[in-house]
Symmetry: C2
Subunit: 301 residues, 2 copies
């Protein structure tokens, strides 16, 4: 397979496994689609799917998932702690191999247009596919959630979707876009004082003055203070720098990191960047990795 | 390609490019062989080749290289700063993909038997292919070099080769074996005092009380004190631990590491191990790397 796109749709259902299973099956009927991960959260009442395949298959898989979710999920009856505006809340497309970011933006637009035309669902484009600066950030589009958007989409010109009707049905609206791979990881501290984790999260995250491309929150997990991080661009804000900032801020409170964990998958490059950082390999090149050389050889005819 | 072996033959010629080229061409005539690297050192009067391919092709490539080197290199006329006993001095076989260490040991024995039979060159098996504990280490086999071995091979029962005649011709003897991938890297200090690099090398290397699987020496390179490391088993002695020991010893002398560099190739796993170490990813699994999952999917029919 020469071209691979990753698709990470978020569906507003995390309590009824039979609904999640039906959506999954609809996606997996598309030839080639490889489902890598399905995570359901009951408190959030939300499920995050991760699947990969060729661009056209990924588009078709996303469309089938959106179609099934629209049939099975009624947003008027949905309750959950995670902000959302639709049965399929958000669909990021991520370039993985042989595909550029502009390719994924074009794919996001085609998917959005089709969803609006065939399903009459309003679609907002976000991140790299955004058509306006205030729609780059997901949180802006989701402001007020499904309940407020129901009125606002009709009355507020600012909230006009990129595609589709100016009215919300029971499937709500869907946010579709293209973005770089996101890395989710959790860092545990040697304390049960959640306030320290919250203070560190506040210090490192972009929204409160910290590092670009970092979202973070402090929670109590397994009886330990945990900083939970979403890194939206590891190329510009490397994992190592985030980790060092956490360590430095933890020291400020007399705490240290005991261990960390990845949530879901991450690109190999993010880890080799970490290795090059700590080993001080200033001139590191991916062609110094044996497996990369083998992959190149096998690509050449 | 399902099965890949890496072969890193060392030839006793680093001054005459036409000889190096002829040996290279003899190896590359073998169908499939992929030459990844050729490094010649005039002071050492030695060239190190790195090539990969399927086990049978790797064996054939090594045999063709040994044959050509025996024809072109006269050990009676060879001078160089690196210890050596043969025109083809040493041939390590390294498992890369779909091949086990025992597979490479078996391959080394077959290659050794063939070299002795068809070329009348004495062969010593080393590292994982060694038939005696005192032959695990290359340096023991090379004791006294070509000049001393010429007499000793006939007179000293201890130096009887694993295969071949008890006499050295102009091609000398060849050491063949199987080993884990070796990682070579250099670490630069913020000083031109080579004694500090030598003291660090002495502290970290196995032979003088340091870490297992570490060979090291201190030299002056580009006007900077440099610790040059060969790591022969990164699985048991991880790069991160070696690096931290260098940093700690450097601090002992008031020095710090300014940068480091890889020499040649290294396996991806060595770098992801470094990342997991510094990020404290206690439960890291290679299946969390997106590219590994894709490779698995593509392997499955």
């Amino acid at each position: 397979v020469q071209k691979i796109v990753e698709c990470v749709p978020n569906f507003s259902e995390g309590k009824r496994p039979e609904v999640v299973r039906e959506i999954r099956e609809a996606i997996e009927l598309v030839r080639g689609i490889q489902m890598l991960d399905v995570e359901s959260d009951a408190a959030h009442n939300r499920s995050v799917f991760t699947f990969v395949w060729e661009p056209e298959a990924a588009l078709e898989g996303a469309f089938q998932g959106i179609t099934r979710a629209a049939r099975l999920i009624d947003m008027n009856a949905h309750k959950g702690s995670h902000p959302r505006i639709g049965a399929t809340d958000v669909v990021p497309l991520v370039p993985v191999r042989g595909v550029s970011m502009p390719d994924c933006v074009a794919l996001a637009r085609r998917l959005g247009e089709r969803v609006s035309r065939e399903l009459a669902i309003p679609v907002y484009l976000y991140e790299e596919a955004a058509t306006r600066p205030d729609r780059v950030n997901l949180e802006n589009i989701r402001r007020g959630e499904y309940e407020e958007l129901k009125t606002a989409i009709t009355t507020d010109a600012e909230r006009k979707p990129d595609f589709g009707p100016l009215v919300l049905g029971s499937a709500g609206a869907t946010i579709i876009g293209a973005r770089a791979p996101l890395i989710a990881f959790n860092v545990y501290l040697n304390t049960n004082d959640v306030e320290i984790a919250r203070a560190i999260a506040t210090a490192i995250r972009h929204s409160s003055g910290g590092l670009a491309h970092v979202k973070a929150l402090g929670i109590l997990a397994e009886g330990r203070a945990q900083v939970s991080i979403n890194l939206t661009n590891y190329g510009r804000t490397p994992m190592a720098r985030v980790m060092e900032m956490i360590r430095r801020e933890a020291a400020r409170y007399g705490a240290v990191v005991t261990r960390s964990e990845l949530v879901g998958l991450l690109p190999a490059e993010a880890l080799t960047d970490v290795a090059a950082y700590y080993l001080q390999l200033d001139r590191f090149s991916p062609s110094q990795v044996l497996e990369n050389r083998l992959a190149e050889l096998e690509k050449a005819p």
